[in-house]
Symmetry: C2
Subunit: 291 residues, 2 copies
């Protein structure tokens, strides 16, 4: 426990962190612990990393073991719940639904028929109906969110600024369609719009289009933004050193993300990586993405 940060309000209890894949769950757990909060990890089998989970108080379960979650979280005194980390879209098999989830199954299947947004916010509502308070990273660890302005030594030039504005407009236009949260724009030309493949694969596509000569213009910017109306407690866009490395490998000049609604996975490493790769990373104002 850090002594620099205030104690949590009395009665807050332990924070239940439902952990998917990647390193974000541990960055969030560490930040909450630094703020004096007790954390219990509910590690999702098939997604969370056992070696990292082991460092925290934890319970393993399948994604569909909601009855088990309620029982243990109640016993542990958790009321606040955070979902964090990647989970993809689980198969019914990976869910391993327990009896509590079976009762909710028709509703969950309906959610599955929509995009990721609908699935995630629907599952969030189910938690709330069972007496838990669903929190976002902003609520428990605001220091993990991207700040406004450049991170690292480089800054976007005039052409990059124009590409950023163009990309934000494009993402605003596609926002109602529950498609990806990222676009790659070079010189007012859209090189890629992210689908279910994820940001790294989208950048790999641009790298490949460049290798094959299909794209010849140099530079370009990866732009990531929250979908309009997206539940900010669940599935915020995130970036890490790997995002920067992939952007550099795709020949981009930089990365722009919306400040305050993008998680920076390893803040201490990302600026160094941007400088090492010679590209910029900038947080842009959220209001540019509002309708």
């Amino acid at each position: 426990m850090s002594e620099r940060l205030p104690d949590p309000p009395a009665g807050e209890g332990a924070l239940a962190i439902i952990c998917g894949g990647g390193s974000l769950p541990y960055a969030l757990a560490d930040a909450a612990i630094r703020r004096g909060r007790r954390v219990i990890l509910f590690a999702l089998r098939g997604w969370a990393d056992p070696a990292r989970v082991a460092a925290y108080p934890h319970h393993w379960s399948w994604m569909g073991q909601f009855g088990r979650f309620i029982r243990i979280a109640t016993r542990e005194g958790c009321r606040d719940v955070v979902f964090i980390g990647s989970v993809g879209r689980p198969s019914i098999l990976q869910l391993r639904p327990d009896i509590r989830v079976l009762g909710l199954l028709p509703r969950i299947l309906r959610l599955f028929r929509g995009g990721d947004d609908r699935l995630l916010s629907g599952v969030g509502r189910i938690f709330e109906e069972h007496g838990f308070r669903l929190m976002g990273p902003k609520d428990v660890a605001p220091e993990l969110l991207m700040p406004l302005g450049p991170v690292g030594a480089r800054e976007p030039g005039a052409r990059d600024q124009a590409d950023i504005a163009y990309g934000l407009s494009l993402l605003r236009a596609t926002s109602p369609f529950d498609i990806g949260q990222a676009a790659i724009v070079a010189d007012n030309h859209v090189l890629a719009l992210e689908g279910p493949e994820g940001t790294d694969a989208t950048m790999a596509r641009v790298a490949e289009l460049r290798r094959s000569g299909r794209i010849r213009a140099p530079g370009g910017v990866l732009i990531k933004a929250l979908k309009l109306g997206q539940d900010q407690r669940i599935d915020l866009p995130s970036i890490g050193p790997q995002t920067i490395a992939s952007a550099a490998a795709a020949g981009l000049s930089g990365v722009a993300v919306v400040a305050g609604t993008t998680i920076v996975a390893e803040p201490e490493r990302i600026a160094a990586e941007a400088d090492r790769c010679g590209i910029f990373l900038v947080g842009v104002p959220a209001d540019e993405t509002a309708p």
Copy 2:
């Protein structure tokens, strides 16, 4: 020359067909010839297929040899010009600009900075300013355009219809951004939006996402539409038997394209291919894509 079709109006002269890659230029040339029109192919080095070009009166040139085109087309008595076939975005090297193009180079370079639309319609305007009449496939060979309704034995079901409407809305929303002309939607979920990689590569991406388990929902529809405000004389979307085979390989239930503004490369083979693959191909009304 066919005797079933009316002669062209007197004074129309030969049709100059500027040929890129693929089989469309020859389908269009054959259709024009069937209508009694004389054709001269201006085959673009690096794109047009020499074996197929050889069957028609033709001249080879680099894309940038505009002075040469003006000289020969004038000598051959061509006033009407059609651009057809794939050319990608040529490198400056592939252009091989002649002296006439060098004078236009600052303007062409500005066009290169925009998306494909801006490039193509800008180049079209340059032709017109030099006394040629730029025609579209619709003007010279309307029989190559997709009809309304199903082609082949299968028809879209209710869920497919919903996916088609969703995809058309998405393409309408992205239309101002000069991005691709195709989307893949399954069960109200956008699986991919086409970028510079082209339709076949976009479907290959979906096939790969399915193989890797990232996409689990079955079915889905490829939807192709003209961009709003796109010059219908240049770069119409097109489909051929390969589109159907790629759609089937990506596990889609069918393909929907806008009737009247989509070229069907090999109309005699595409219905058979759709039936062989067990998927539908349907032409949807153009007004659904209007704003």
